[in-house]
């Protein structure tokens, strides 16, 4: 043995440690990969050894290699081995490796559950710490479910070191196992007031993250956070809290009002830039949430903007960046305050730092107005020319387009200027955004009718200079604009002055080098051009010219027919044939122009991107239904090939349809038009007049100003937008002069009266009239489009699962799963889960509290026994608390100022009328209650219930402005179909002393006919720490506790956890039994050690475990026909009981029998019900329950008469308590 150890340590001396590995890698720079693979082989050898130190060393090296990018998932099992080492020095290496490489897909991870649980409950705080840290990295939904309760227990650990870690890990647990949030939330809330600031900060962190995703659930915590904010001096915590408020204020404007003052104080006082930045951000959020008509807050905005200006002017680039970032948030709601700092922002465009420039660009987007758009864009164009690096230039390009096109070209007063800007942008080399420019050109040309003539001339110029754009292959991104140019020239060819020239430009051989889709558009639009030229020539009687142009087409088109691109080829050959036909007609001197143009008659209108989606599904059309019944599986396989073949044939025949002559075509078109006109779902070519101007109210009333186009339009390669700027300035000047004249006239007329009003208006930007009659066509929507805007929410958002109402009382089924006695784990039956989950100390406590409250009320509300009702009330009270805090409570003494009072008053007034009314009503109701007090008890009970329901409805109304989702939720919660059932717990008291309280429940096990599981909840009632708990039972002949193999009947079973003060936890014990026909009682003892400051003492608690017959029954559903057969079979014994003095409703009664005696209802007719259950040993038990006036009679049938009579006796006892 000793020799082996020595040998081991000698071996180790030759092993490489991490440092050797690092050095080795540095020394093998040339053949690093080879060296590392060699090392990995060595590590594999080391992992095979038994020595844990060697293994840990190997895993440590693996961690380093993993960091370098090598996959080490193959060593997952070895990592687990090292994790379970007893020595902390090794254990932490294992956990480190696990935290670096384990994830949800690691399959061995489930093996770690028990190890982690052990480490979590380790007496060494660093073991626990390292397990928690590791868990935060690799927790899976399974681990989260299994360990949630353990971690929750650790949240109340004695050491703050553990507490803070446990609190933080809970966030990950919530994410992976959302069901844990509600049961854990009360404790998390407690931690906000933890004596240790670290724990406090951890809790703030977690709630901040939670609230960011689903803020409305955390609004009730606002007063607590407010207290923390005004008392904390830790900047890290303050930042988080302030951030949290930023998320809450949008939901509650009154909260914002309360916050403004402390926040502005902080802004003035703090020296920490991070805190200042956070405060400014939250103040901005507050201001956004407040309605805009709050002149009082202009001071706060000014303060923020001022502070931000200081940041932006700072030489520290970081501050400059953050300043700009925050500024862009103010911009959204208070653009005026930011616009005054335009100089500063424009200055930032020259900054050396690209990220700062980009931020400044973002700001500019929101700062433009009709007045300054041209100026800003001019500046940007200069930057485009100067910009180095394509990414920034591309960014500038998209920004220019964004800025100009925002809100339906709201700020563009001169579209000629904009088109020339777009044309100038086409000269950018190597941009990726050709398609963007193209899209803009198309959009403007289509939607601004007045600009078409100008646009066409510009596009013709582009086509003419296409060689400049298309020649360079590097510029291929930009050649997309040719697509737009060709289309615009073709579609609006009537505006072309020199159509011939443009057509020739489009037919140049160079064009064939363009990408296929652009060529295709070229080919298509050539014909449009050709058609319009043809018509022009025919009208003016130039027959020869018309034939010439036809010949030109026939000569040039073949180059496209040869194209490699199918689309181009197809279109070209079609058109070539068409034109050849036209030529024939032309030779016969038949006028053709009319018919050719008819091919392209009608106007194309823009269609809104969502139009297709918004087409309502007509009534009676089921999109999911089969049109033809699908063939059965067996058939489809052999038939498929046939059908494909068949299909093909059909297609061929369709192709071979006789060619249609022009007249026929025209006739059909007419018919189609007719049909379309009658079809409500066809997007018609002329939108209804109201629709057309929807987005631009009043635009058509703006006077049309004719401008004299003195600028030559066709100067290729010369920037012109500047000239437009000048022109525009002149125009505006003229306009202003005119207006001034008018005003003077007006003044003369109405001197004195409106004097002030007028002078205020002179500079407002609305006065700038656009240069053109800007007829912006809005995008079309189908008629009777669905108004709803679809949710863009991601259904897979992991945080959505955490949107849980935290104020709702905890239901029994929501308790966290607790670790179980290991014998049970394999035998777990699905039936046992639901009742098992129910447990916990809080329940009795709550009841006690309530009881006291009731006493205080001196029986005023004696009739209101229903817990549900009470809880509802409590909830309301909570809501009232928040309201109270928000509306009347003075701000904390230190910051109180008299100024804040009128604001609060205003807030109340600003409240929605409806809510206020309801509040008054509620108050009235309460007063009412107190007034009438004890008069009519029974009536009141009913009334109360009704009120409760109506209150629920009101509540949902109240909340409705938050979100629709919530409304649905609360309605669901509020309106129960039946009257609510009282809460029931199957846990009975086992024993109690000043230290500990035990409650227990017994569940049968279907899988094993001779075992039951006893779940015991241990609740630590003392202020001491309870540990080394051991439970022992004196076995009887019939009933024995299942002990681990090898232990004697006198050995107790250790309870697998310790209990910090005030904590409760559940353990399970398995018992075997032979006969189940009779109830059993077993004596037992719990021994434990009480540890507190004064030392530790050994304590004992005796108990009696009562196995009732009902605990051997398992709730088993039974169908009525099976039930009838069972009764008919005749091999059941019968017995009956009758209980008098029953006052509870039949439904409650049945619920009690189901719950406490494990029965299920088979059928219920009026006040009569049949019930069924099965024992673990297969006895059938059938009941017929009948309710009379004040009594209940139960007839039972069972295979075993003893069992039946015992069961009925137990039932009698239960019912007599009712």
């Amino acid at each position: 043995m000793a020799l082996k150890m020595v040998k081991g340590s000698i071996d180790r001396m030759f092993d490489k440690n991490l440092q050797d590995l690092v050095r080795g890698i540095r020394n093998h720079k040339e053949d690093e990969a080879k060296y590392i693979s060699q090392c990995i082989d060595e590590i594999k050898q080391e992992l095979k050894q038994d020595n844990i130190a060697v293994k840990a060393n190997a895993v440590c090296k693996l961690t380093y290699l993993q960091m370098l990018g090598y996959d080490i998932s193959w060593a997952a099992f070895n990592i687990i081995e090292v994790m379970s080492a007893s020595k902390f020095t090794f254990k932490r290496i294992g956990y480190l490796a696990a935290s670096q490489c384990f994830h949800e897909g690691t399959d061995v991870i489930m093996l770690t559950t028990n190890q982690i649980r052990k480490d979590l409950s380790s007496p060494n705080q660093y073991d626990t710490g390292v397990a928690l840290t590791g868990l935060s990295c690799f927790v899976t939904p399974d681990l989260a479910r299994d360990l949630a309760n353990d971690i929750m227990t650790l949240m109340s650990h004695t050491k703050p070191y553990i507490r803070k870690k446990a609190v933080l890990i809970m966030y990950k647990v919530f994410l992976k196992y959302p069901e844990s949030l509600r049961p854990a939330f009360p404790r998390l809330k407690e931690k906000l007031e933890d004596p240790d600031p670290g724990v406090q900060s951890a809790a703030v962190n977690v709630i901040c993250e939670l609230a960011r995703r689903n803020p409305k659930n955390y609004l009730s915590l606002a007063p607590l956070f407010f207290k923390l904010m005004t008392s904390s001096t830790n900047n890290w915590v303050l930042i988080k809290i302030i951030k949290l408020f930023g998320a809450l204020t949008p939901l509650e404007p009154r909260l914002g009002k309360k916050l403004i003052e402390p926040l502005t104080n902080l802004i003035h006082s703090t020296s920490a830039m991070s805190l200042l930045y956070e405060c400014v951000n939250t103040v901005i959020a507050v201001l956004i949430s407040l309605s805009s008509g709050m002149p009082n807050h202009s001071a706060s905005i000014q303060l923020c903007v001022q502070k931000l200006r200081i940041l932006i002017e700072d030489s520290d680039q970081n501050l400059k960046y953050l300043g700009l970032l925050a500024m862009s948030k103010i911009l959204k709601t208070h653009p005026k305050s930011v616009q005054s700092h335009k100089d500063l922002i424009l200055q930032c465009l020259d900054d050396k730092d690209e990220s700062i420039r980009l931020r400044a660009l973002d700001l500019l987007y929101g700062m433009v107005s009709k007045k300054n758009l041209m100026e800003i864009v001019k500046k940007l164009m200069i930057h485009v020319d100067k910009a180095e690096g394509t990414t920034y230039r591309d960014e500038l390009l998209t920004k220019i387009i964004d800025i100009c096109s925002q809100s339906n070209y709201q700020y563009i007063t001169n579209f000629e200027w904009y088109i020339s800007i777009l044309v100038e942008l086409t000269r950018l080399e190597g941009t990726r955004h050709g398609h963007l420019i193209a899209a803009q050109m198309l959009d403007v040309a289509i939607r601004v009718k007045a600009i078409r003539k100008f646009a066409v001339s510009q596009m013709a110029m582009l086509l003419d200079n296409a060689h400049l754009i298309a020649s360079n292959t590097q510029r291929n991104g930009i050649c997309e604009v040719l697509y737009a140019a060709a289309w615009i020239c073709g579609e609006f060819s009537e505006h072309l002055e020199e159509a011939n020239q443009t057509l020739e430009a489009m037919l140049r051989p160079k064009v064939t080098t363009l990408p296929g889709h652009i060529q295709a558009v070229y080919v298509q639009n050539m014909v449009k051009l050709y058609a319009s030229i043809l018509q022009q020539k025919e009208q003016s009687g130039e027959k020869e010219a018309a034939q010439e142009i036809t010949q030109l087409m026939i000569d040039r088109l073949p180059q496209f027919v040869q194209s490699a691109d199918l689309e181009v080829q197809e279109r070209a050959s079609c058109i070539l044939q068409l034109i050849k036909y036209i030529q024939k007609l032309q030779i016969k001197e038949v006028p053709v122009a009319e018919e050719v143009t008819a091919l392209f008659a009608g106007e194309l209108n823009p269609v809104a991107p969502k139009a297709q989606k918004k087409v309502p599904v007509p009534e009676g059309l089921d999109l999911d239904a089969w049109i033809n019944e699908p063939p059965s599986d067996s058939e489809s396989e052999d038939e498929k090939p046939k059908t494909i073949f068949h299909d093909e044939e059909q297609r061929h025949s369709r192709h071979r349809q006789p060619e249609i002559d022009e007249e026929e075509l025209a006739r059909r078109r007419e018919a189609r038009k007719q049909e379309q006109a009658n079809n409500p779902f066809y997007i018609k070519s002329s939108p209804s007049p109201q629709k057309r101007y929807q987005d631009t109210p009043g635009v058509e009333h703006i006077p049309v100003v004719q401008i004299d186009l003195s600028v030559p339009l066709k100067v290729p390669g010369m920037p012109m937008s500047d000239q437009y700027v000048k022109l525009e300035e002149e125009r505006r000047h003229k306009q202003k002069l005119e207006k001034d004249k008018k005003k003077k006239k007006q003044k003369k007329e109405k001197r004195g009266k409106h004097h002030r009003h007028n002078s205020l208006h002179t500079e407002s930007e609305e006065d700038i009239a656009p240069a053109h009659h800007v007829d912006i066509i809005t995008e079309e929507m189908p008629e009777n489009a669905l108004p709803s805007d679809e949710d863009d929410k991601d259904p897979n958002d992991p945080y959505k699962a955490l949107d849980i109402d935290l104020d709702k009382p905890l239901a029994d089924s929501e308790k966290l799963p607790v670790q179980r006695h290991r014998n049970v784990e394999t035998l777990k039956s699905p039936d046992s889960e639901a009742p098992l989950a129910e447990k916990k100390s809080k329940k009795p406590k709550k009841k006690e509290k309530k009881h006291k409250e009731k006493e205080r009320d001196k029986g005023k509300k004696k009739e209101k026994e229903k817990k549900v009702v009470e809880e509802e009330e409590e909830e309301e009270k909570k809501g009232d608390d928040l309201d109270f805090w928000l509306s009347t409570a003075p701000p904390p003494a230190s910051t109180a100022q008299p100024q804040s009072e009128p604001e609060v008053g205003a807030a109340v007034v600003a409240e929605p009328q409806e809510v206020k009314k309801e509040e008054r009503e509620e108050r009235d109701e309460e007063e009412d209650d107190e007034g009438k007090k004890s008069s009519k008890h029974k009536k009141k009970k009913h009334k109360k219930e009704k009120e409760e329901k109506s209150k629920d409805k009101k509540k949902s109304k109240k909340k409705s402005h938050h979100s629709e989702e919530e409304t649905a939720g609360s309605v669901q919660n509020g309106t129960l179909d039946d009257e609510p059932l009282p809460p029931m717990s199957s846990y009975r008291l086992l024993a109690e002393n000043p230290y500990i309280k035990m409650t227990y429940d017994i569940q049968g096990n279907l899988q094993n006919d001779s075992q039951v599981t006893v779940s015991v909840i241990f609740e630590n009632k003392s202020t001491s720490f309870l540990k080394s708990m051991e439970l022992n039972v004196l076995d009887s002949l019939n009933t024995k506790m299942l002990r681990p193999e090898g232990s004697s009947v006198h050995d107790g079973i250790p309870v697998p956890f310790q209990l910090p003060p005030g904590i409760s936890n559940e353990a399970q014990f398995v018992f075997t039994l032979q006969s189940i026909v009779m109830a059993q009682k077993l004596k037992g003892t719990l021994s434990f050690i009480v540890k507190n400051d004064e030392g530790s003492t050994h304590e004992k608690l005796d108990f009696k475990l009562h196995f009732s017959c009902a605990s051997y029954l398992i709730t088993t559903p039974c169908y009525s026909d099976a039930f009838a057969k069972l009764l008919e079979s005749g091999d059941l014994h019968m017995s009956s009981i009758k209980v008098d003095g029953i006052s509870i409703s039949f439904q409650h009664l049945l619920a009690k029998i189901c719950f406490h005696h494990h029965f299920s209802v088979v059928e219920r007719v009026d006040s009569c019900a049949s019930m069924y259950s099965r024992s673990i040993q297969g006895h059938h038990v059938c009941l017929l329950v009948k309710k009379g006036e004040n009594s209940v009679s139960i007839d039972g049938k069972c295979n075993d008469s003893t069992l039946l009579s015992n069961l009925l006796d137990e039932m009698k006892e239960t019912l007599s308590k009712c």
């Binding site: 991490l18 440092q19 690092v22 440590c60 961690t63 380093y64 993993q66 960091m67 370098l68 990018g69 090598y70 996959d71 998932s73 902390f88 020095t89 932490r92 290496i93 480190l96 670096q100 490489c101 994830h103 949800e104 660093y126 710490g129 928690l132 840290t133 935060s136 990295c137 690799f138 803070k164 870690k165 933080l168 890990i169 966030y171 990950k172 670290g198 900060s201 951890a202 962190n205 977690v206 993250e209 960011r212 900047n235 890290w236 930042i239 951030k243 830039m273 991070s274 930045y277 956070e278 680039q317 970081n318 400059k320 960046y321 953050l322 050396k352 730092d353 990220s355 700062i356 980009l358």
Partner: protein, 148 residues
């Protein structure tokens, strides 16, 4: 929330990496390479915040060593910027006591210890501790155990 914490040298070699949300191993290498490329391309007169994909990088340079932290939009950039310095100060305090070696070397040789320090400061993507003594306490306990 902090998404990842990296220490990378000028040659682009990773010296420390910690991810608070799972990233696959091959994606990690790519991400690290891109992150350091982003940071290296910036001059001293540029700000320490880089927008990268859907998160933000906050970085600081110490001689040849970059500390880069990836955060999402809810984290306070300035606070993280200060955190980095705090972290480096703790490292400096600990390793100057342990060895005279260059900090960069100490980090490589004591990767596990650096991780302990980091885990004490940042847990689950949240800043938990900034007090130097409290951060180092577990490590000192560990060293004592190792010595004895």
């Amino acid at each position: 929330m902090i998404k990842f914490f990296l220490m990378v040298n000028k040659q682009g070699q990773t010296r420390l990496s910690r991810y608070y949300e799972h990233v696959e191993i091959n994606k990690r290498t790519m991400l690290e390479a891109e992150v350091i490329k982003n940071c290296l391309s910036r001059s001293k007169d540029q700000c320490s915040f880089v927008e990268y994909k859907d998160f933000k990088l906050v970085y600081r340079q110490y001689a040849a060593l970059f500390v880069v932290v990836g955060i999402n939009e809810t984290e306070n950039e300035m606070a993280v910027y200060e955190l980095i310095h705090n972290f480096v100060e703790v490292l400096d305090k600990y390793f100057s006591r342990v060895s005279e070696l260059d900090v960069s070397f100490s980090i490589m040789f004591n990767l596990d210890r650096v991780h302990i320090i980091l885990d004490e400061m940042v847990l689950n993507g949240c800043i938990v501790e900034t007090n130097r003594n409290r951060i180092l306490a577990p490590l000192l306990v560990l060293d004592k155990v190792a010595e004895s």
